[in-house]
Symmetry: C3
Subunit: 343 residues, 3 copies
């Protein structure tokens, strides 16, 4: 790994805008959990369940709430939200190799593309005609950016990302490897015995600012209008977003979830992993869907929603599964007994 | 986006083989929904639910059935199947950037590969030994085509597609980015405490004509024989097709579905999204499987099949989920009550 | 396909360390099933269900257990574990095109990378600063290997694999196309109305020896410590392994399964396809999870586990699904009846 950055405790306090107690000259070169941190590492205490670990930590310093400072055996950075400050501190210790501005000699950049001087274009990239790449953008090795697509300021595409033509990506967006933005939506008209006739997908994809898109995630272009991803949306790996989906600001979608065409998801939702959401639905703001649920109808109220069954030993599960298939008759037999009783 | 194409209404009518009513010189430069269409756009009316939208549309012209012409406030293209004609019209308005025949200078093409003069090979492609690429094929940037694979006439691979060695792809096939055709099937023999011994996957993949394969979809090569995808099959994004699967003509498979090894799916099936189909099954023609169902046994009859539970608020769902695990005992208690009753 | 290799029966017997009966000079050029094998092919008989097929086979020779030799109409290779020997034989007939040692002229290899002379680096690869590639490694076309990553002896990356920076891959590992190793884990801290603050992912990924990783599979880097994949683990296509997951030796994971963050899976487990495993769980050794189950809590005992419901015709399923949502009330009504009865 690349050389870690180092900060004194007082430096860190200043950069995070926090008060500290203890020796401000303590040198910190990384982050670690309370249990594993060495004296060169910063840790954090956010969950009261780990109180004992706080009391026994060997960290160089620890991020804590004001009321736990007294329990810390080591220097403290004081915050009302240690987990948030841990996130901010992690960025100070980021060990990603720095990117180099300019075009790698092996990259192909069309003469009609516009690339800011501060942008970095990696090895074996392909930047097609009419593409516009703003300042401070980093395009990883082997990315392909299709005709007339636009990448906003400070965005970063990791290696092997594919962006089709006519796609609009905002500022400070991160897209991980093997993601595909703007493939055709799955639109076909049946033509009797002759099979399917493809509906050309004439829309694009519009991605807001500060969006994160995981590895292997696919976001299809719209059929007529654009597929829309709002500002601050975070999407994990291998998520499928179909054509004309709209996702509201700051919604988070965990890995392997699939959203079918023309569904609108509100703002500030949290969709867990491996969820399925069928097409043409409306999902309100602040909806939470639990892992591997299937959303089969619109959700008009904030709240938590689920489907499926709980895990069991397979032998027991088989019995329940058989009974599930008899549920309607079980229910009718119960009704019959109730009638008899009330005679 | 690239410049849209423009047609007069009478031009469109001729190209689609349709009658029209109204001003044949109306100029149309795109497609839109009844509600959003401007006077430069063609719309379509297929679903009677949107009758009011037809009556209020500001489109330049609209595709309608003969019996709705009288209700249209604007010029009409008349068809018994407006949705199908909308699909065909969409292709006339396709705004994909045109491809350029020839080899991009940055592409690597083996001296033993055969590439038709009319084919287009994009930037940074790798065409290995013995590959055969037919007329009018378009290979997007950064594709890799393995040794001795064959790509039929008029097929189009988008950027970053991987085709392994010895794969046969038919004519007029479309494959989207990050798709992988011909990776090894998941075949291993257990060797006691020494773990797994790999079974070399000696088969290939054979893909018919007019097949569409979505972004990130994987179709594995067969163990001994080929994995087979029939003519006219359409497959959405992130679908997994395991080794030795056979898929019949014109079957449609929506996103994130997984088909395990050696299963045969019939013709004209529609498999919804996120479905799982276990291995070594036979699925008849014209079977429909609803979203996120698990197919655990062969299906010998056309029809619709499902598994899972419906979505509920998580609090209510938890109660049902607990009861599910008690179903066998609930059922036995019911039986007991019935016995008592009949004493 | 490339020219098949040919062996006499006695050659094969020697290479596999087996006894044979029949004509040792029989020439074999491939493998096939009992039913389809020609006289130039080797087949195997492992499942007594196919006894009739053994008796009718036209194979050139067949792998059988000692007690079935008498039933074979053709020459036999004798083994107590014919399926295992079939796997080993398949490797002898492997028809993958051979790789060529050395750097393809179109590849970019950083001057600070170390590449063994016997390694093969394919067309349009990008090998970043400080990478170390051991002897006999094969890197397929268009792969990207990030800064300071290490690839152990004899490993093989197929085309279009992405390895981020600081990743450690063991020996004899196989990674299929479009797989992504080391993308950022999905870690964000909520910041009230300001959305999400990214937690820099400072850990790496450590992959043991003899691991196989399928096409489109993603294995994220750890937040602080590494994500760990044990020796001999086999992972199918489109599997998602989140940050800080630990997978024990020889565990097998089938396609489209998702494992959420910080979950530990034991050794010798078999996780079927499309399974979901939520985060921060402990799964014991030798656990089997059936297809499309959701694992919602830690599993401390070896055994088989399931969730979901069985497949039904959609009409019947709908009735059961409605009753599922009424299960708590059904259960209470049953309890009420029991009380009445016992009065």
């Amino acid at each position: 790994m690349s050389q870690n950055r180092r900060y004194t405790l007082s430096d860190l306090a200043q950069q995070l805008g926090l008060e500290w107690v203890g020796d401000g000259s303590v040198l910190l070169s990384g982050l670690a959990t309370l249990q594993s941190a060495s004296s060169l590492e910063l840790s954090f205490f956010a969950n009261p369940r780990y109180r004992q670990q706080l009391q026994n930590t060997r960290a160089g310093a620890v991020l804590v709430k004001p009321n736990f400072v007294a329990e810390s055996p080591v220097a403290c950075l004081i915050s009302d939200n240690p987990y948030l400050m841990f996130a901010k501190a992690s960025q100070l210790f980021d060990n990603r190799p720095p990117s180099k501005p300019g075009l790698h000699p092996s990259a192909y950049v069309s003469s009609t593309a516009t690339v800011a001087a501060s942008a970095s274009i990696g090895a074996n990239c392909c930047i097609e005609d009419g593409v516009s790449i703003a300042a401070d953008v980093v395009i990883g090795a082997a990315c392909v950016i299709g005709e007339n697509s636009v990448i906003g300021k400070g965005s970063r595409l990791c290696a092997n990302v594919t962006v089709y033509h006519g796609i609009c990506i905002g500022e400070q967006v991160v897209i991980h490897s093997a993601a595909v933005i703007g493939a055709d939506g799955f639109g076909f008209a049946p033509n009797g015995s002759e099979g399917w006739v493809k509906i050309a997908q004439l829309g694009g994809v519009s991605i807001g600012n500060r969006v994160e898109i995981g590895a292997g995630t696919t976001i299809d272009r719209g059929a007529l209008d654009d597929t829309l991803i709002g500002d601050g949306v975070i999407i994990d790996n291998q998520v499928q977003i179909a054509h004309n989906v709209v996702i509201g600001e700051n919604t988070a979608i965990a890995g392997c979830t699939a959203v079918a065409g023309s569904t609108t998801i509100g703002a500030n939702c949290t969709i867990a992993g491996a969820v399925g959401i069928i097409g043409h639905l409306q999902i309100a703001d602040k909806v939470h869907v639990t892992a591997m649920s299937l959303v089969t109808k619109s959700i008009h109220q904030a709240g938590s929603y689920s489907s499926g069954t709980a895990m069991m030993e397979t032998g027991d599960w088989r019995k329940s599964a058989v009974r599930f298939s008899q549920l309607d008759s079980l229910s009718k037999r119960l009704r019959q007994l109730e009638k008899e009783q009330n005679k």
